[in-house]
């Protein structure tokens, strides 16, 4: 399913989107299939599946640990595309990985592998628009969305450029810093949501962990929330994982529904 289609559907229903991140292969490819199913049952609208990279500079300790578990569990890009291709879900799937993984596979091959395995969007935290020309070209050619970030430090001029190049949704970074669960909503988050004026859906990530925050972010004008570390924390605990993933997804989706 295309990302834009999903956001149109949610708009009709007047709901904010829940975009749920987990790291593929954490702790095993089979577990990932089970966890994705649980997240979808809980109400996730889009699944963002991390493809692990050895040196994840944009991630905090929680997701770093998830990435390490995935790598130890044997996750590679080959296994990744096989695992994703075997998922039976009817919502958009997005890959999140670092540029070297894409670069090493070959940009076009990577994009084609995405298409073949049912992935409709690509997020690369270390690829600003300045460096994205080539990959963006292949994404256009194969109709895959390349998703860009805007941060509290991003100037007005850059926002224009990011909006011009970005597809699918724009990823608003809620606060300066790396990924990791928090419990509050920073004022810089509200300010950023206001500052980015566009018809492209705006999804806010970094630090969201509960339904209350999700509700606040959606009522501040965002179209979706992105939640990762809070799910990865559950996976790390190893206890009752599918049921707890589902429950958290449900809480977050409840929060995002109120707009």
């Amino acid at each position: 399913m295309k990302i834009s289609e999903k956001f149109r559907e949610l708009k009709r229903k007047k709901e904010g989107a829940l975009i749920a991140y987990i790291c593929a292969g954490d702790p095993s490819p089979d577990a990932t299939k089970e966890y994705v199913t649980a997240l979808v049952r809980g109400g996730a609208d889009i699944i963002e599946l991390g493809l692990p990279f050895s040196d994840p500079t944009a991630d905090g300790p929680t997701i770093q640990a998830g990435i390490e578990r995935a790598l130890d569990g044997g996750m590679t890009p080959d296994v990744y595309f096989k695992t994703v291709g075997s998922l039976r879900v009817h919502i958009p799937l997005v890959v999140m990985t670092y540029y070297n993984i894409i670069f090493k596979r070959g940009l076009e091959k990577f994009v084609k592998d995405c298409v073949a395995s049912g992935i409709s969007g690509i997020i690369v935290p270390d690829l600003p628009p300045e460096e994205s020309g080539e990959l963006a070209g292949f994404c256009r050619k194969h109709d895959v969305d390349l998703i860009f970030f805007a941060a509290p430090t991003t100037t007005g001029e850059r926002i224009k450029r990011i909006l011009a190049e970005g597809k699918g949704f724009i990823y608003l970074v809620a606060r300066l810093g790396v990924t990791g669960a928090r419990t509050d909503v920073a004022s810089s988050t509200r300010e950023l949501i206001q500052r980015v004026k566009t018809t492209t859906p705006k999804a806010v990530g970094f630090g969201i962990s509960n339904g209350e925050q999700a509700a606040q972010i959606i009522s501040a004008g965002a179209d979706g929330v992105i939640v990762g570390s809070a799910f990865v924390d559950i996976i790390a605990s190893g206890k009752d994982v599918p049921a707890r993933l589902e429950a958290l997804a449900r809480e977050l989706k409840e929060g995002a529904r109120i707009s």
């Binding site: 040196d55 890009p77 670069f103 090493k104 990011i162």
Partner: protein
Amino acid sequence: MKRELKSTKFGKYGGQFVPEVLMPALEELTEQYENYKDDPVFNEELNYYLKDFAGRPSPLYHAKRLSKEYGVKIYLKREDLVHGGAHKLNNTLGQALLARYMRKKRIIAETGAGQHGTACAMAGAAFGIKTEVYMGAKDTVRQRMNVYRMELMGTKVIPVKSGSQTLKDAINEAMRDWVANVETTHYLIGSVVGPHPFPTIVRDFQSVIGKETRTQIMEKEGRFPDSIVACTGGGSNAMGIFHPFIEDDVDLFAVEAGGSGMKVTDKEALHSATLCTGEDGVLHGMRTKVLQNKYGQILESSSIAAGLDYAGVGPELAYLADIGRLKPCNSMDAEALDAFNDLCMLEGIIPALESSHAVAYVKKAAASGDLGDVVVINLSGRGDKDLETVMGMRK
């Protein structure tokens, strides 16, 4: 020079592969550096510190006994005599001063051997800027003395326990800190690596080595050397001495760490010879040569010299290697130790293990005639920090 700053690349290498959060900071840094690099007030202040604080110019020393032993006329550029015991201070004084002009309140850095961290601590203390240094937990053990030195000068050393617990992980952690504190903090990167404009800025501040060498060798020899040899981790001492000679008829040798052999597995390399064996990739904000597996996962590198133990290399060196302007080569751990002994016994100089790799290459290559008649070795640092390692090996 101006034109070069605007371009973020060296050929296909370099660039700015960083999170969006950092892009405005890189723009600001580029702008401010552009602003100050030819500013007379800034340069007067920097030169004052280089001279009266760092002890520059460093001597160019004719190593007579080593020359006789190796069969080629050898000059040592004595960066080991710079305050702190390595070339690193040239860069940290420049960047810390820049940070002060940019009104940044805090400096963060990564360090491998602890030399760059120590040089940051010195500059931070001298300029009164709060300084925090990330260091791989493994390195905090093998370079214990430098941890103490940093702490004595008021720097907080933060051990990094993620990944391989060495330099690359310290860089990862410093970048994460910078992302969170970019508005108040300058990331004082320690080599010619990272996103643009760092490779250019660090090279420029280190170029004082090559500029002095030009004058000194003319005084002593009445001509330029046939070749210049420098050890290469990230490549800052190498670029510092090479850069002023780029347009001249002088052969440039970048000596990497051959470690204990050229073997690699899916996870690690027994060496750190990135220019020699690495493949194109993107790491720490730059496109460059990288030690990686077939999926693009970065390998853990290895070397007896912590300062060379890095899976990446500066993008300008990758470019110069591609176009044939410099020759990448390497020395093994054992060869470096051997050269370390030579320099101790023949010249009364205890070199850093990093620098010993350059000396070792000269020992190997002199006989072939490839180096010509007159060679300058950039003796990037002194070996006090390595005594425990060396004594351990001798046992």
